[in-house]
Protein backbone atom coordinates (compact mmCIF):
# COMPACT_ATOMS: atom_id res chain seq x y z
CA UNK A 1 0.00 0.00 0.00
CA UNK A 2 2.11 2.92 -1.24
CA UNK A 3 2.12 5.83 -3.66
CA UNK A 4 5.13 6.38 -5.90
CA UNK A 5 6.08 9.87 -7.10
CA UNK A 6 8.30 10.69 -10.08
CA UNK A 7 9.99 14.09 -10.38
CA UNK A 8 11.91 14.96 -13.56
CA UNK A 9 11.25 18.66 -14.22
CA UNK A 10 14.89 19.75 -14.49
CA UNK A 11 18.33 18.27 -13.74
CA UNK A 12 17.16 15.97 -10.93
CA UNK A 13 15.50 12.64 -11.57
CA UNK A 14 13.81 11.70 -8.31
CA UNK A 15 11.61 8.81 -7.25
CA UNK A 16 9.92 8.76 -3.87
CA UNK A 17 7.50 6.41 -2.15
CA UNK A 18 5.02 7.51 0.50
CA UNK A 19 2.52 5.62 2.61
CA UNK A 20 -0.07 7.49 4.70
CA UNK A 21 2.09 10.60 4.73
CA UNK A 22 5.24 8.74 5.68
CA UNK A 23 8.22 8.82 3.31
CA UNK A 24 9.50 5.28 2.71
CA UNK A 25 12.05 6.13 0.01
CA UNK A 26 13.47 9.23 -1.67
CA UNK A 27 16.03 8.24 -4.32
CA UNK A 28 17.56 10.47 -6.94
CA UNK A 29 20.10 10.83 -9.71
CA UNK A 30 21.38 14.18 -10.91
CA UNK A 31 22.47 15.46 -14.29
CA UNK A 32 25.71 17.40 -13.92
CA UNK A 33 24.97 20.99 -14.92
CA UNK A 34 28.71 21.81 -14.95
CA UNK A 35 29.59 25.37 -15.85
CA UNK A 36 27.32 25.59 -18.89
CA UNK A 37 24.01 25.08 -17.15
CA UNK A 38 21.41 22.54 -18.10
CA UNK A 39 20.93 21.34 -21.68
CA UNK A 40 17.33 20.03 -21.65
CA UNK A 41 17.74 17.33 -24.33
CA UNK A 42 20.91 15.95 -22.69
CA UNK A 43 19.31 15.91 -19.25
CA UNK A 44 16.22 14.14 -20.63
CA UNK A 45 18.43 11.55 -22.33
CA UNK A 46 20.16 10.82 -19.04
CA UNK A 47 16.81 10.61 -17.22
CA UNK A 48 15.56 8.06 -19.79
CA UNK A 49 18.65 5.90 -19.28
CA UNK A 50 18.28 5.95 -15.50
CA UNK A 51 14.56 6.00 -14.78
CA UNK A 52 14.34 2.20 -14.47
CA UNK A 53 17.21 1.94 -12.02
CA UNK A 54 16.08 4.88 -9.84
CA UNK A 55 12.58 3.36 -9.57
CA UNK A 56 14.24 0.04 -8.68
CA UNK A 57 16.40 1.72 -6.02
CA UNK A 58 13.35 3.41 -4.46
CA UNK A 59 11.42 0.13 -4.34
CA UNK A 60 14.27 -1.75 -2.68
CA UNK A 61 14.80 1.13 -0.21
CA UNK A 62 11.11 0.89 0.70
CA UNK A 63 11.47 -2.90 0.95
CA UNK A 64 8.77 -3.69 -1.56
CA UNK A 65 8.20 -4.68 -5.17
CA UNK A 66 6.08 -3.09 -7.87
CA UNK A 67 2.99 -5.02 -6.86
CA UNK A 68 2.85 -2.99 -3.62
CA UNK A 69 2.22 0.29 -5.51
CA UNK A 70 -1.35 1.50 -5.19
CA UNK A 71 -1.06 4.93 -6.82
CA UNK A 72 1.24 6.99 -9.03
CA UNK A 73 2.06 10.70 -9.22
CA UNK A 74 4.36 12.56 -11.61
CA UNK A 75 5.38 16.19 -12.14
CA UNK A 76 3.15 17.84 -14.74
CA UNK A 77 5.08 21.14 -14.62
CA UNK A 78 6.41 23.76 -14.48
CA UNK A 79 9.72 22.61 -15.91
CA UNK A 80 11.63 21.70 -19.05
CA UNK A 81 9.52 19.90 -21.67
CA UNK A 82 11.91 17.09 -22.61
CA UNK A 83 12.63 16.33 -18.96
CA UNK A 84 8.97 16.41 -17.89
CA UNK A 85 8.11 13.96 -20.70
CA UNK A 86 10.35 11.28 -19.15
CA UNK A 87 8.49 11.28 -15.83
CA UNK A 88 5.11 11.49 -17.53
CA UNK A 89 5.85 8.53 -19.78
CA UNK A 90 7.25 6.39 -16.97
CA UNK A 91 4.24 7.17 -14.76
CA UNK A 92 1.71 6.36 -17.48
CA UNK A 93 3.47 3.13 -18.36
CA UNK A 94 3.56 2.03 -14.71
CA UNK A 95 -0.08 2.99 -14.24
CA UNK A 96 -1.22 0.89 -17.20
CA UNK A 97 1.00 -2.04 -16.29
CA UNK A 98 -0.08 -2.13 -12.62
CA UNK A 99 -3.65 -0.93 -13.24
CA UNK A 100 -3.42 1.67 -10.45
CA UNK A 101 -4.68 5.29 -10.46
CA UNK A 102 -2.44 8.12 -11.65
CA UNK A 103 -2.39 11.85 -10.91
CA UNK A 104 -0.38 14.82 -12.30
CA UNK A 105 1.25 17.07 -9.66
CA UNK A 106 2.36 20.70 -9.77
CA UNK A 107 6.09 20.93 -9.01
CA UNK A 108 5.81 24.08 -6.85
CA UNK A 109 2.89 22.59 -4.90
CA UNK A 110 5.10 19.53 -4.35
CA UNK A 111 7.78 21.65 -2.65
CA UNK A 112 5.29 23.72 -0.67
CA UNK A 113 3.04 20.91 0.47
CA UNK A 114 5.84 18.55 1.48
CA UNK A 115 7.31 21.39 3.56
CA UNK A 116 3.93 22.12 5.16
CA UNK A 117 3.41 18.40 5.75
CA UNK A 118 6.73 17.68 7.49
CA UNK A 119 7.15 21.03 9.31
CA UNK A 120 3.68 21.05 10.85
CA UNK A 121 2.74 24.55 9.60
CA UNK A 122 -1.04 24.89 9.44
CA UNK A 123 -2.02 27.95 7.43
CA UNK A 124 1.23 29.67 6.45
CA UNK A 125 2.32 32.45 4.16
CA UNK A 126 4.73 30.64 1.86
CA UNK A 127 8.01 31.89 0.45
CA UNK A 128 8.75 29.58 -2.46
CA UNK A 129 12.24 30.27 -3.74
CA UNK A 130 13.84 28.15 -6.43
CA UNK A 131 15.90 28.58 -9.56
CA UNK A 132 13.11 29.36 -11.96
CA UNK A 133 10.67 30.93 -9.56
CA UNK A 134 10.23 33.10 -6.50
CA UNK A 135 6.72 33.57 -5.15
CA UNK A 136 4.80 34.51 -2.04
CA UNK A 137 1.67 32.39 -1.64
CA UNK A 138 -1.09 31.52 0.78
CA UNK A 139 -4.17 29.30 0.64
CA UNK A 140 -7.49 31.01 -0.11
CA UNK A 141 -10.80 29.24 -0.73
CA UNK A 142 -12.21 31.38 -3.57
CA UNK A 143 -13.05 30.72 -6.37
CA UNK A 144 -11.68 27.25 -5.48
CA UNK A 145 -9.25 26.22 -2.72
CA UNK A 146 -5.75 27.01 -4.03
CA UNK A 147 -2.49 28.79 -3.30
CA UNK A 148 -3.07 32.43 -4.19
CA UNK A 149 0.02 34.28 -5.40
CA UNK A 150 0.35 37.44 -3.30
CA UNK A 151 3.61 38.49 -4.88
CA UNK A 152 6.26 37.15 -7.21
CA UNK A 153 9.32 37.96 -9.27
CA UNK A 154 8.64 39.99 -12.39
CA UNK A 155 11.70 38.49 -14.11
CA UNK A 156 14.01 35.69 -12.89
CA UNK A 157 13.93 33.49 -9.80
CA UNK A 158 16.34 34.31 -6.99
CA UNK A 159 18.06 30.93 -7.45
CA UNK A 160 18.68 31.72 -11.09
CA UNK A 161 20.22 35.03 -10.03
CA UNK A 162 22.53 33.34 -7.50
CA UNK A 163 23.56 30.67 -10.04
CA UNK A 164 24.23 33.19 -12.82
CA UNK A 165 26.34 35.26 -10.45
CA UNK A 166 28.21 32.17 -9.28
CA UNK A 167 29.13 31.35 -12.89
CA UNK A 168 30.29 34.93 -13.51
CA UNK A 169 32.45 34.70 -10.36
CA UNK A 170 33.80 31.33 -11.57
CA UNK A 171 32.16 29.40 -8.75
CA UNK A 172 30.17 26.20 -8.84
CA UNK A 173 26.46 27.16 -8.98
CA UNK A 174 24.50 25.40 -6.25
CA UNK A 175 21.36 27.22 -5.00
CA UNK A 176 23.58 29.98 -3.64
CA UNK A 177 25.72 27.93 -1.26
CA UNK A 178 28.92 28.88 -3.09
CA UNK A 179 27.85 32.54 -3.18
CA UNK A 180 27.08 32.40 0.56
CA UNK A 181 30.54 31.02 1.23
CA UNK A 182 32.19 33.74 -0.83
CA UNK A 183 30.07 36.36 0.96
CA UNK A 184 31.52 35.50 4.38
CA UNK A 185 33.34 38.53 5.74
CA UNK A 186 32.23 40.78 2.86
CA UNK A 187 31.33 44.44 3.28
CA UNK A 188 28.20 46.17 1.99
CA UNK A 189 28.31 48.07 -1.30
CA UNK A 190 25.19 49.88 -2.54
CA UNK A 191 23.17 47.89 -5.11
CA UNK A 192 19.77 48.25 -6.83
CA UNK A 193 16.90 47.31 -4.52
CA UNK A 194 13.53 46.78 -6.25
CA UNK A 195 10.38 45.86 -4.38
CA UNK A 196 6.93 46.93 -5.55
CA UNK A 197 4.38 46.07 -2.92
CA UNK A 198 4.73 42.29 -2.69
CA UNK A 199 6.46 41.86 -6.07
CA UNK A 200 10.16 42.15 -6.85
CA UNK A 201 12.74 41.95 -9.66
CA UNK A 202 16.26 40.51 -9.70
CA UNK A 203 17.81 41.14 -13.13
CA UNK A 204 18.89 44.72 -12.30
CA UNK A 205 20.63 43.48 -9.19
CA UNK A 206 22.32 40.63 -11.08
CA UNK A 207 23.59 42.83 -13.93
CA UNK A 208 24.93 45.33 -11.43
CA UNK A 209 26.64 42.68 -9.30
CA UNK A 210 28.30 40.98 -12.29
CA UNK A 211 29.60 44.34 -13.52
CA UNK A 212 30.91 45.20 -10.05
CA UNK A 213 33.04 42.03 -10.03
CA UNK A 214 35.51 43.82 -12.33
CA UNK A 215 36.57 46.50 -9.88
CA UNK A 216 35.61 45.24 -6.41
CA UNK A 217 36.52 42.52 -3.95
CA UNK A 218 34.33 39.55 -5.02
CA UNK A 219 33.55 38.88 -1.34
CA UNK A 220 31.99 42.35 -0.98
CA UNK A 221 30.00 41.94 -4.18
CA UNK A 222 28.69 38.49 -3.19
CA UNK A 223 27.79 39.73 0.30
CA UNK A 224 25.99 42.83 -0.95
CA UNK A 225 24.04 41.00 -3.66
CA UNK A 226 22.91 38.27 -1.26
CA UNK A 227 21.95 40.72 1.48
CA UNK A 228 20.04 42.92 -0.99
CA UNK A 229 18.13 40.04 -2.61
CA UNK A 230 17.14 38.41 0.68
CA UNK A 231 16.13 41.76 2.23
CA UNK A 232 13.81 42.31 -0.76
CA UNK A 233 12.18 38.92 -0.16
CA UNK A 234 11.83 39.64 3.57
CA UNK A 235 10.19 43.00 2.94
CA UNK A 236 7.67 41.53 0.50
CA UNK A 237 6.75 38.63 2.75
CA UNK A 238 6.47 40.91 5.79
CA UNK A 239 3.88 42.94 3.89
CA UNK A 240 1.99 39.73 2.99
CA UNK A 241 2.07 38.62 6.65
CA UNK A 242 0.54 41.88 7.84
CA UNK A 243 -2.05 41.91 5.05
CA UNK A 244 -3.24 38.35 5.69
CA UNK A 245 -2.62 38.37 9.47
CA UNK A 246 -1.04 34.92 9.08
CA UNK A 247 1.73 34.27 11.60
CA UNK A 248 3.47 31.25 10.10
CA UNK A 249 6.04 31.73 7.35
CA UNK A 250 6.86 28.57 5.42
CA UNK A 251 10.14 28.53 3.51
CA UNK A 252 10.41 26.08 0.62
CA UNK A 253 12.20 25.41 -2.67
CA UNK A 254 15.90 25.02 -3.49
CA UNK A 255 17.02 28.37 -2.07
CA UNK A 256 15.27 27.48 1.23
CA UNK A 257 18.55 25.69 1.99
CA UNK A 258 20.17 29.09 2.56
CA UNK A 259 20.98 29.62 6.26
CA UNK A 260 21.16 33.40 5.92
CA UNK A 261 17.71 33.67 4.31
CA UNK A 262 16.20 31.57 7.10
CA UNK A 263 17.97 33.65 9.75
CA UNK A 264 16.66 36.92 8.26
CA UNK A 265 13.11 35.54 8.13
CA UNK A 266 13.41 34.46 11.77
CA UNK A 267 14.41 37.99 12.83
CA UNK A 268 11.51 39.46 10.83
CA UNK A 269 8.80 37.04 12.01
CA UNK A 270 9.89 37.37 15.66
CA UNK A 271 8.87 41.06 15.58
CA UNK A 272 5.32 39.97 14.65
CA UNK A 273 5.07 37.04 17.09
CA UNK A 274 5.42 34.69 14.16
CA UNK A 275 7.65 31.75 13.35
CA UNK A 276 9.48 30.26 10.39
CA UNK A 277 8.76 26.72 9.26
CA UNK A 278 10.87 24.72 6.85
CA UNK A 279 11.49 21.14 5.77
CA UNK A 280 14.82 19.30 5.97
CA UNK A 281 17.01 20.03 2.94
CA UNK A 282 16.30 16.69 1.24
CA UNK A 283 12.80 18.08 0.50
CA UNK A 284 13.95 21.57 -0.50
CA UNK A 285 16.11 20.32 -3.34
CA UNK A 286 14.09 18.69 -6.14
CA UNK A 287 13.00 15.22 -5.06
CA UNK A 288 10.49 12.46 -5.76
CA UNK A 289 9.09 12.15 -2.23
CA UNK A 290 7.33 15.51 -2.47
CA UNK A 291 5.48 14.31 -5.56
CA UNK A 292 4.56 11.06 -3.79
CA UNK A 293 3.27 12.92 -0.71
CA UNK A 294 1.10 15.32 -2.76
CA UNK A 295 -0.07 12.54 -5.11
CA UNK A 296 -1.29 10.55 -2.11
CA UNK A 297 -3.27 13.55 -0.82
CA UNK A 298 -4.72 14.10 -4.30
CA UNK A 299 -5.69 10.46 -4.76
CA UNK A 300 -7.24 10.39 -1.28
CA UNK A 301 -9.46 13.33 -2.26
CA UNK A 302 -10.54 11.82 -5.58
CA UNK A 303 -8.36 13.84 -7.94
CA UNK A 304 -7.10 10.96 -10.09
CA UNK A 305 -7.00 11.44 -13.87
CA UNK A 306 -7.55 9.13 -16.83
CA UNK A 307 -4.13 8.23 -18.36
CA UNK A 308 -5.11 9.99 -21.63
CA UNK A 309 -5.65 13.22 -19.65
CA UNK A 310 -2.22 13.01 -18.03
CA UNK A 311 -0.39 15.79 -19.86
CA UNK A 312 2.55 18.05 -19.11
CA UNK A 313 2.54 21.84 -18.91
CA UNK A 314 5.89 23.64 -18.90
CA UNK A 315 4.29 26.79 -17.49
CA UNK A 316 1.88 25.17 -15.02
CA UNK A 317 1.29 27.86 -12.37
CA UNK A 318 1.00 27.02 -8.69
CA UNK A 319 -2.22 29.05 -8.43
CA UNK A 320 -3.91 26.90 -11.09
CA UNK A 321 -3.64 23.76 -8.92
CA UNK A 322 -6.58 22.82 -6.71
CA UNK A 323 -5.87 21.98 -3.05
CA UNK A 324 -8.74 19.81 -1.82
CA UNK A 325 -7.29 18.72 1.50
Amino acid sequence: MAVIGIESSAHTLGVGIADKGKVLANEKMMYDVGTTGIIPAKAAEQHIENIGSVIGAALSKAGMDKSGITGIGYTKGPGLGPCLRVGQLAAKTLSMELKVPIVPVNHAIGHIEVARHVSGAKDPIVLYVSGGNSQILGIINEPFRHYHVFGETFDIGVGNMLDSFARAAKLNPAWGSSVAKLAEGGKYIQMPYTVKGMDFTFTGLLTNAVKMLEANDPRDVAYSMQETAFAMLCEAIERAMLLTKKREVLLSGGVAQSKRLKEMLEIMTATHNGAVYAAPNEFNADNGAMIAIVAEKMLDTGMQKKPEDCDINQKYRADAAEIRW
Binding site: Y193, K196, R239, D319
Partner: protein
Protein backbone atom coordinates in the same frame (compact mmCIF):
# COMPACT_ATOMS: atom_id res chain seq x y z
CA UNK B 1 3.53 60.12 21.72
CA UNK B 2 0.66 57.73 21.20
CA UNK B 3 0.97 55.07 18.51
CA UNK B 4 -2.07 55.12 16.20
CA UNK B 5 -1.21 52.31 13.83
CA UNK B 6 1.50 50.08 12.53
CA UNK B 7 2.30 49.05 8.97
CA UNK B 8 4.90 46.82 7.37
CA UNK B 9 7.52 49.52 7.29
CA UNK B 10 6.31 52.46 9.37
CA UNK B 11 4.55 53.32 12.60
CA UNK B 12 2.09 56.21 12.87
CA UNK B 13 2.03 58.38 15.99
CA UNK B 14 -0.11 61.23 17.22
CA UNK B 15 2.13 64.30 17.35
CA UNK B 16 2.24 68.09 17.48
CA UNK B 17 4.30 70.45 15.35
CA UNK B 18 4.42 74.07 16.59
CA UNK B 19 1.19 73.56 18.45
CA UNK B 20 -0.52 72.10 15.42
CA UNK B 21 -2.07 68.59 15.38
CA UNK B 22 0.01 66.27 13.27
CA UNK B 23 0.81 62.64 12.69
CA UNK B 24 4.33 61.29 12.66
CA UNK B 25 5.07 58.54 10.15
CA UNK B 26 8.28 56.91 11.35
CA UNK B 27 10.08 54.25 9.31
CA UNK B 28 11.19 51.57 11.74
CA UNK B 29 14.50 49.78 11.86
CA UNK B 30 14.44 46.30 10.34
CA UNK B 31 16.75 43.96 12.18
CA UNK B 32 16.95 41.53 9.27
CA UNK B 33 18.67 44.05 6.99
CA UNK B 34 22.39 44.69 7.14
CA UNK B 35 22.80 48.11 8.87
CA UNK B 36 24.00 50.24 5.93
CA UNK B 37 21.21 48.88 3.71
CA UNK B 38 18.64 49.55 6.44
CA UNK B 39 19.74 53.19 6.90
CA UNK B 40 19.78 53.75 3.16
CA UNK B 41 16.30 52.33 2.49
CA UNK B 42 14.68 54.21 5.38
CA UNK B 43 16.22 57.57 4.61
CA UNK B 44 15.73 57.33 0.82
CA UNK B 45 12.07 56.38 1.19
CA UNK B 46 11.37 59.05 3.77
CA UNK B 47 12.84 61.75 1.56
CA UNK B 48 11.16 60.43 -1.56
CA UNK B 49 7.74 60.25 0.10
CA UNK B 50 7.96 63.86 1.30
CA UNK B 51 9.17 65.02 -2.11
CA UNK B 52 6.32 63.28 -3.93
CA UNK B 53 3.71 64.70 -1.54
CA UNK B 54 5.06 68.20 -2.07
CA UNK B 55 4.99 67.70 -5.83
CA UNK B 56 1.39 66.43 -5.71
CA UNK B 57 0.37 69.40 -3.62
CA UNK B 58 2.10 71.84 -5.98
CA UNK B 59 0.19 70.35 -8.92
CA UNK B 60 -3.12 70.91 -7.18
CA UNK B 61 -3.90 67.41 -5.88
CA UNK B 62 -5.54 67.13 -2.47
CA UNK B 63 -2.92 65.65 -0.17
CA UNK B 64 -2.18 66.44 3.48
CA UNK B 65 0.66 68.92 4.01
CA UNK B 66 4.13 67.77 5.00
CA UNK B 67 5.14 69.84 8.03
CA UNK B 68 8.59 68.53 8.86
CA UNK B 69 11.07 65.81 7.90
CA UNK B 70 13.33 64.48 10.60
CA UNK B 71 15.65 61.56 9.78
CA UNK B 72 13.39 58.57 9.23
CA UNK B 73 10.21 60.42 10.20
CA UNK B 74 7.77 62.71 8.39
CA UNK B 75 5.39 64.96 10.30
CA UNK B 76 2.17 65.34 8.31
CA UNK B 77 -0.83 67.60 8.89
CA UNK B 78 -3.57 65.69 10.73
CA UNK B 79 -6.94 65.59 8.99
CA UNK B 80 -10.34 64.73 10.41
CA UNK B 81 -12.34 62.26 8.44
CA UNK B 82 -13.11 58.66 7.53
CA UNK B 83 -11.50 56.33 5.04
CA UNK B 84 -13.55 55.52 1.97
CA UNK B 85 -13.36 51.75 2.56
CA UNK B 86 -15.22 52.24 5.84
CA UNK B 87 -18.00 54.17 4.06
CA UNK B 88 -18.70 51.75 1.22
CA UNK B 89 -21.78 50.18 2.79
CA UNK B 90 -23.48 53.60 2.86
CA UNK B 91 -23.65 53.71 -0.90
CA UNK B 92 -27.30 52.68 -1.18
CA UNK B 93 -28.45 55.26 1.37
CA UNK B 94 -26.29 58.14 0.22
CA UNK B 95 -26.00 57.57 -3.51
CA UNK B 96 -25.41 61.19 -4.49
CA UNK B 97 -22.74 61.76 -1.85
CA UNK B 98 -20.90 58.54 -2.74
CA UNK B 99 -21.06 59.38 -6.44
CA UNK B 100 -19.33 62.71 -5.73
CA UNK B 101 -16.64 61.03 -3.62
CA UNK B 102 -15.86 58.49 -6.35
CA UNK B 103 -15.78 61.22 -8.99
CA UNK B 104 -13.37 63.15 -6.83
CA UNK B 105 -11.20 60.04 -6.27
CA UNK B 106 -11.00 59.55 -10.06
CA UNK B 107 -10.21 63.20 -10.64
CA UNK B 108 -7.46 63.18 -7.99
CA UNK B 109 -5.77 60.13 -9.55
CA UNK B 110 -5.92 61.84 -12.95
CA UNK B 111 -4.20 64.88 -11.48
CA UNK B 112 -1.50 62.78 -9.82
CA UNK B 113 -0.87 60.99 -13.12
CA UNK B 114 -0.68 64.35 -14.93
CA UNK B 115 2.20 65.11 -12.57
CA UNK B 116 3.72 61.67 -13.37
CA UNK B 117 3.06 60.51 -9.83
CA UNK B 118 2.04 56.87 -9.52
CA UNK B 119 0.51 56.15 -6.12
CA UNK B 120 1.28 52.42 -5.89
CA UNK B 121 -1.57 51.58 -3.49
CA UNK B 122 -4.60 53.49 -4.77
CA UNK B 123 -7.42 51.77 -2.87
CA UNK B 124 -10.39 53.05 -0.83
CA UNK B 125 -8.24 52.49 2.28
CA UNK B 126 -6.09 55.41 1.16
CA UNK B 127 -8.88 57.85 0.28
CA UNK B 128 -9.83 60.09 3.19
CA UNK B 129 -13.15 61.98 3.24
CA UNK B 130 -13.55 64.90 5.67
CA UNK B 131 -16.87 65.61 7.45
CA UNK B 132 -17.37 68.42 4.88
CA UNK B 133 -17.01 65.88 2.08
CA UNK B 134 -13.55 66.98 0.89
CA UNK B 135 -11.56 64.09 -0.59
CA UNK B 136 -7.85 63.64 0.21
CA UNK B 137 -5.36 61.07 -1.08
CA UNK B 138 -3.07 59.73 1.65
CA UNK B 139 -0.12 57.33 2.14
CA UNK B 140 2.48 57.89 -0.55
CA UNK B 141 4.74 55.23 0.94
CA UNK B 142 4.76 53.18 -2.27
CA UNK B 143 4.49 56.14 -4.67
CA UNK B 144 6.92 56.81 -7.48
CA UNK B 145 7.61 59.48 -10.03
CA UNK B 146 7.39 57.84 -13.44
CA UNK B 147 5.78 58.39 -16.83
CA UNK B 148 5.21 54.64 -17.27
CA UNK B 149 1.74 54.03 -18.72
CA UNK B 150 1.77 50.53 -17.25
CA UNK B 151 2.39 51.78 -13.71
CA UNK B 152 -0.45 54.26 -14.10
CA UNK B 153 -2.76 51.51 -15.38
CA UNK B 154 -1.89 49.41 -12.31
CA UNK B 155 -3.17 52.24 -10.07
CA UNK B 156 -6.52 51.98 -11.86
CA UNK B 157 -6.52 48.19 -11.76
CA UNK B 158 -6.04 48.19 -8.01
CA UNK B 159 -9.05 50.47 -7.55
CA UNK B 160 -11.06 48.40 -10.02
CA UNK B 161 -10.41 45.25 -7.98
CA UNK B 162 -11.24 47.04 -4.74
CA UNK B 163 -14.69 48.49 -5.50
CA UNK B 164 -17.87 47.08 -6.99
CA UNK B 165 -18.66 46.88 -10.71
CA UNK B 166 -21.38 49.51 -10.36
CA UNK B 167 -19.11 52.03 -8.66
CA UNK B 168 -15.97 51.65 -10.76
CA UNK B 169 -17.36 53.26 -13.97
CA UNK B 170 -18.09 56.48 -12.02
CA UNK B 171 -14.46 56.54 -10.91
CA UNK B 172 -13.09 55.75 -14.38
CA UNK B 173 -15.25 58.35 -16.17
CA UNK B 174 -13.99 61.04 -13.89
CA UNK B 175 -10.38 59.86 -14.31
CA UNK B 176 -10.80 60.00 -18.09
CA UNK B 177 -11.82 63.66 -17.95
CA UNK B 178 -9.04 64.63 -15.59
CA UNK B 179 -5.98 62.84 -17.03
CA UNK B 180 -4.45 64.21 -20.23
CA UNK B 181 -3.40 60.83 -21.64
CA UNK B 182 -6.15 58.67 -20.18
CA UNK B 183 -6.65 56.95 -23.55
CA UNK B 184 -3.23 55.21 -23.44
CA UNK B 185 -3.62 54.33 -19.78
CA UNK B 186 -7.05 52.74 -20.30
CA UNK B 187 -5.82 50.82 -23.34
CA UNK B 188 -2.92 49.51 -21.25
CA UNK B 189 -5.33 48.56 -18.48
CA UNK B 190 -7.19 46.37 -20.99
CA UNK B 191 -3.89 44.75 -22.07
CA UNK B 192 -2.90 44.00 -18.49
CA UNK B 193 -6.24 42.45 -17.68
CA UNK B 194 -5.98 40.16 -20.70
CA UNK B 195 -2.55 38.94 -19.61
CA UNK B 196 -2.43 35.59 -17.88
CA UNK B 197 -0.72 36.65 -14.69
CA UNK B 198 -3.34 39.20 -13.69
CA UNK B 199 -6.20 36.92 -14.64
CA UNK B 200 -5.16 34.30 -12.15
CA UNK B 201 -4.01 36.87 -9.60
CA UNK B 202 -6.98 38.30 -7.86
CA UNK B 203 -5.87 41.37 -5.96
CA UNK B 204 -6.71 41.30 -2.29
CA UNK B 205 -6.64 44.56 -0.42
CA UNK B 206 -6.52 45.09 3.29
Amino acid sequence: MEKISEGAEAEIYDAKVLGRSAILKYRIEKGYRTRPLDYRIRSERTKSEAKIMARASARGAMVPKVLLIDGYGIYIEKLDGAMLNAMMDRFEKQKEKMRKILEEAGKQLGMLHNADIVHGDYTPANILVTPEGVVYVIDFGLAEITNSVEEKALDLLLMKRSISKTLYPIFEDSYRKSHGDSKSVLLKLGDIERRGRYQTRTLITG
